[in-house]
């Protein structure tokens, strides 16, 4: 197990270039502590798999260094890095039994049968594979095959890090939940450094102690699941995390007021030194919006659509042409299509050129 440090890493698939646009992965510095569970979250094509392959050594970065503890491994081939990686689709050795598949990484490293056998059986129990242990791997379902892949990643106790590249994509939703909690359990038990790539926010938020959100080849925020939810540092994080995502609406600032079109909203904070011509937006989670009967102190809106999704309702409201999602448990007391929209000011953020802008408390 090791601390993983990335020093000024950048990668371009077309080779060294001066133009930053050529880089699939923009310059980044990052340290992952030993034994941590991290998630790399971002949409397809944001560079998260590139980053993962740089750590595992399948790719050599155009710039920068990768350190395991304090050893520079940037140019070390994969097999010498002592890491494990689990891929998006199950990779199994067809002609081997489940036992042989799980034992393969240990066998290749010259472990004896006495060392291998108890370890394989222990792991198979944790993954619920013990009854298929002597079945040919190719006869199993996709779920079971992916569990074998996971097992091969977890079998070695001495790995520097375990990398997961969207490992639960092919798994049924119900089993996904189960496997995720098994991974969490295994993490607690063995204390591996785990790095988990996903585009599924639920997966990232339940798995990781700390989530790294990536967007267009750059890291936009690193934080705990709460921090990502409460204080997105970038509008992308606001959109991407939460269901539905954050309401982000263009506005103008006048003293301690935000003007959404010609409606004023008192923010309770002042924002100074905003560059002229910058894009200014106001962002608030649907959970922190509330609807009150019309005529109250909120913004006058009309209700356009109500989606009842069980525990709560998502209400779509319109303020002229601006749309907001509001999450509420009850819609009682509302009559007609008109309502007033009330903001929770402690959770209202201002974004300048997509980045969080912190105001002065009055």
């Amino acid at each position: 197990m090791a601390k993983v440090t990335l020093k000024e890493i950048a990668h371009s698939y077309t080779g060294y270039s001066e133009n930053p646009d050529d880089y699939a992965l923009k310059k980044l510095d990052l340290t992952w502590r030993d034994g941590g569970a991290y998630a790399l979250l971002g949409p397809s094509g944001c560079g998260k798999t590139t980053l993962l392959n740089i750590i595992s050594g399948l790719l050599i970065p155009t710039k920068g260094q990768v350190l395991f503890n304090d050893q520079d491994v940037t140019r070390l081939p994969t097999e010498q890095r002592n890491i494990a990686q689990i891929f998006q689709f199950p990779v199994i050795y067809d002609t081997m039994t489940v036992f042989q598949n799980l034992a393969f990484p240990l066998k290749n490293r010259g472990r004896t049968k006495e060392e291998i056998e108890p370890r394989v059986i222990e792991l198979a129990k944790m993954l619920n594979l013990e009854k298929d242990l002597y079945t040919k791997a190719q006869h199993l379902t996709a779920d079971a095959k992916q569990k074998i892949s996971l097992g091969r990643g977890l079998i070695r106790t001495s790995v520097n890090a375990i990398l997961f590249d969207e490992p639960l994509t092919v798994i049924d939703p119900q089993l996904k939940w189960q496997l995720r909690s098994q991974l969490k359990f295994l993490h607690k038990k063995f204390g591996f450094t785990m790095i988990y790539v996903t585009h599924d926010q639920t997966e990232a938020l339940t798995f990781a102690d700390e989530v790294i959100v990536m967007y267009e080849g750059a890291i936009v925020q690193i934080g705990t699941p709460e921090a990502l939810f409460e204080r997105p540092e970038h509008t992308f994080v606001g959109y991407f995390i939460g269901s539905p995502g954050m309401n982000i609406v263009p506005c103008r600032l006048q003293g301690n007021q935000a003007m959404i079109d010609d409606h004023a909203l008192v923010l309770g904070k002042t924002y100074r030194d905003i560059p002229t011509g910058a894009k200014i937006e106001i962002g608030i989670r649907p959970e922190y919006l509330r609807l009150a009967p019309p005529g109250g102190k909120g913004l006058p809106v009309n209700i356009q659509k109500v989606d009842d999704i069980g525990r709560y309702k998502i209400v779509r409201v319109g303020l002229n042409n601006r749309k907001f999602n509001v999450v509420m448990t009850e819609l009682s007391g509302m009559t007609g299509d008109n309502a007033s929209l009330v903001f929770n000011m402690n959770h209202t953020n201002i974004y300048v050129n997509d980045h969080l802008f912190v105001g002065d408390q009055q």
Binding site: S56, E79, Q85, F87, V91, Y93, T97, P105, Y134
Partner: protein
Amino acid sequence: MIAKQTNQKAWFMVLPVFLVVAFSAVIPLMTVVNYSVQDTFGNNVFTWVGMDWFKDLIHSERFHAAFLKQLMFSGIILLIEVPLGIVIALAMPKKGWGVPVCLIGMALPLLIPWNVVGTIWQIFGRVDIGLLGHTLASLGIHYNYTQDPVAAWITIIIMDVWHWTSLVVLLCYAGLCSIPDAYYQAAKIDGASRLAVFRYIQLPKMQRVLLIAILLRFMDSFMIYTEPFVITGGGPGNSTTFMSIDLVKMAVGQFDLGPAAAMSLVYFLVILLLCWVFYTVMSNVGEESSNGGK
């Protein structure tokens, strides 16, 4: 309740297939069956002989010899072409300008007509003017495929390897290219050796195409006619008289239509049987027991 209407018009749709199959396979095969149970001395006069030709054939030493030679030939070329094809396919580049160069180079021998291949090697191996034959002779090596059965066999086998290994290569290459990168990456991470990658990833993933390659090469080699006919004409002596050459000698040379027809049928059934055995065995490889030991 409405009675289900029967519409027999659909039969007209399958009629073309019936006709094509009838004219291309069934009718010619039936004429052969017809010949195999009759005797003729020409003039379109036939006499019924029952199973006599088959009985003769089963006990004929000439047939045994040709059959054995045929099996040996197919066995040898499979043993050479399949491993060689795999090795070449593994060595071929996976990307870059080398790919089209290799593919075209590999495909070239396959495009040459069979009797041209025969002629090329017939001339190539001649002691008086052939590059190979003359060079060997000047080096003092005794090589003459018109006199020495071993030399004749070696020539035909090398020719077949030259002509057909490409087919195995191309099929294996296609099989190799279809293996996702993740398998190689996983193998690296699992610390697998080069040999283990071949044994546990490449070979199992090539199994399907190898089955096709072996079947095709077996059938083709078992039916080989043109090339040995051009090079040696079945000689020296009868040393390269494979089944199809023997068959033609019998049917055309001696005009023994009955025995030749009986031989054709046996020949056909043998190929069918062996292909079935190959297919069954190969497609069961790796599927056999679901509880193979640890």
